[in-house]
């Protein structure tokens, strides 16, 4: 604060005039360039150039540039795409419903143990996909919690870690922290007085939820849904650890690249996958206007 007065009260040396700058405190364009140089160099060398080369690599495939369409023309890849889309959409819907209720509850109520619950729910935020897969094995594998409980109750071990249900549970596991954080952030912005008003005007609870809370939460739900969907589309570690019989797209890319050395197809599929997730996040940012929150992603 003291500095501010000084800055205004003093007549500054006029060197800025010689350099054609309006404000002496502004660094020169050359300095800005120097500041950006390391970051720009890293991004250019290790992201932009590889991106262009991958796009070109596709042309070396069996069908030349048509390899780009392989995800639509080849039945196996197309089926994998559909499965991955359905899986991701399903997980997103379930996560949104669960986290919508729980997030809203945690924002609107204060009780002892609340912050512990929040802490626990956001714990897996940076678990790698493999660990999430292992958590599913702990829950529903051969020695898992569900199996032991069902064994004690009905004398039969229920094991579903290695089926599509296990994969779904895994995806849900890493989605919950992300979605709950996003839902809570937007729920805090809602004005509780609106609900109060609706209630005092005689609206039943379900009307308050449908007409007041849901519309208010909607932007937050849409953007967290997009993050959840995009993360699920690209998730590799979980499927890799569970080694389920359904082929999610990232697993197909991995197999094509490593086992079949089918680099062009792997590149084409990667580009398709990258485009889907990027488009999904951008569309939401465009629609909702608020930045789809990348920091709520990480791992998986």
């Amino acid at each position: 604060m003291a500095l501010q007065n000084l800055g205004e009260g003093r007549s500054r040396p006029s060197f800025s005039r010689y350099f054609g700058m309006s404000r002496s405190a502004m660094a020169s364009p050359a300095t800005f360039m120097a500041l950006m140089a390391p970051g720009v160099a890293i991004v250019a060398a290790f992201f932009l150039i590889p991106l262009v080369l991958v796009a070109a690599e596709v042309a070396n495939g069996p069908d030349g540039w048509a390899t780009y369409l392989v995800i639509l023309t080849n039945a196996r890849y197309f089926e994998s795409l559909v499965q991955t889309l359905l899986m991701s959409a399903g997980v997103t819907v379930v996560a949104l419903i669960l986290c919508g209720i729980v997030g809203m509850f945690l924002v609107r109520n204060r009780f002892s143990g609340r912050s512990v619950l929040i802490g626990l729910l956001t714990l897996p935020l940076s678990f790698p996909g493999t660990v999430v897969g292992f958590m599913v094995i702990m829950l529903a594998g051969r020695q898992g919690a569900v199996g032991s409980i069902s064994n004690a109750l009905i004398g039969e071990k229920i094991v579903f870690a290695y089926e599509i249900a296990g994969l779904f549970i895994g995806y849900l596991y890493f989605s919950i922290p992300r979605v709950i954080l996003a839902v809570m952030a937007s729920a805090e912005k809602l004005d509780p007085q609106l609900e109060e008003a609706a209630r005092s005007l005689g609206a039943p609870r379900w009307r308050v939820v449908r007409d007041v809370i849901l519309p208010g939460l909607m932007p937050g739900l849409i953007s967290s849904g997009a993050i959840c969907f995009a993360t699920a589309m690209g998730a590799f570690g979980t499927a890799f650890t569970l080694a389920t019989d359904i082929d999610v797209l990232p697993m197909v890319i991995y197999t094509e690249f490593t086992r079949n050395a089918n680099i062009a197809v792997a590149a084409a599929l990667s580009i398709a996958l990258g485009l889907i997730t990027w488009l999904c996040l951008s569309a939401v940012r465009f629609l909702v206007g608020e930045k789809a929150d990348l920091a709520a992603r990480g791992g998986a």
Partner: protein, 271 residues
Amino acid sequence: MRRGWPFYAQLGLTVLLCLFIVVPIVMSALAGVTVNVFKGLSSGLTLRWIFEVWELYAQSILLSLWLAVACLVVTTLAGVPLAYVLVRRPNRLTRMFEEILTLPVAIPGLALALALLITYGGFGSFRSSWVFILIGHVLFTMPFMVRSVAAVMSAMDMKTLEEGAASLGAGFWHRFLHVIVPNAMPGILAGALMVVTLSIGEFNLTWMLHTPLTKTLPVGLADSYASMRLEIGSAYTLIFFVLIMPLLIAMQMLANPGKKRRAASQPAEDE
């Protein structure tokens, strides 16, 4: 405040969700110190598996820590100046760059790794060094550092601070190092925690980029899940939890006290 059945129903669901998250964590932690998982806890507790993991995987654990530190150094040195430019010079060009910078987070790690492999996979010694993995980690974590620092920088009155320092005769680099950076410290710290946590846990990229001599902690984890007995996998997971929990707790504490009530207006990216 009276609390009817909806309160308890919602509380029930919340607790259920918490159990879903926590039960497997506790189970795997216990399995890591149990003599024989198939017989259960009654077989006794032991640290044998932890030692065995250390013998088998010490290399990969140490490499992960080393990578995290290296990644932190690079993202701080390159990311803090970037954040400064993005906040101080918001024009079409810098905004476009920010978009490109965050792209590696938006597209799946597998695709990014593939691009790196196709471009640089042919350079033998580079391909098989830890630097190759570091590059992947830097691309993936840089946006988090830049975002976190930029958020703090745009909240502080940088123009006034800089003009004040300039009027006292401070040149640009002096201002940057002694006025801007100290003021942006909370953002740098939050970003640093995020970068280290993400780097230690990164799997999608690393699995593609690693070689038998450059295995990281999560790569070793996947390896132990696939080929070792359940106790070893669990013990290894336990080590991972012990490494990562303090970072997560520090992140939550850093995110909470400063903004308490107003936490609402901040997007989750500060968490």
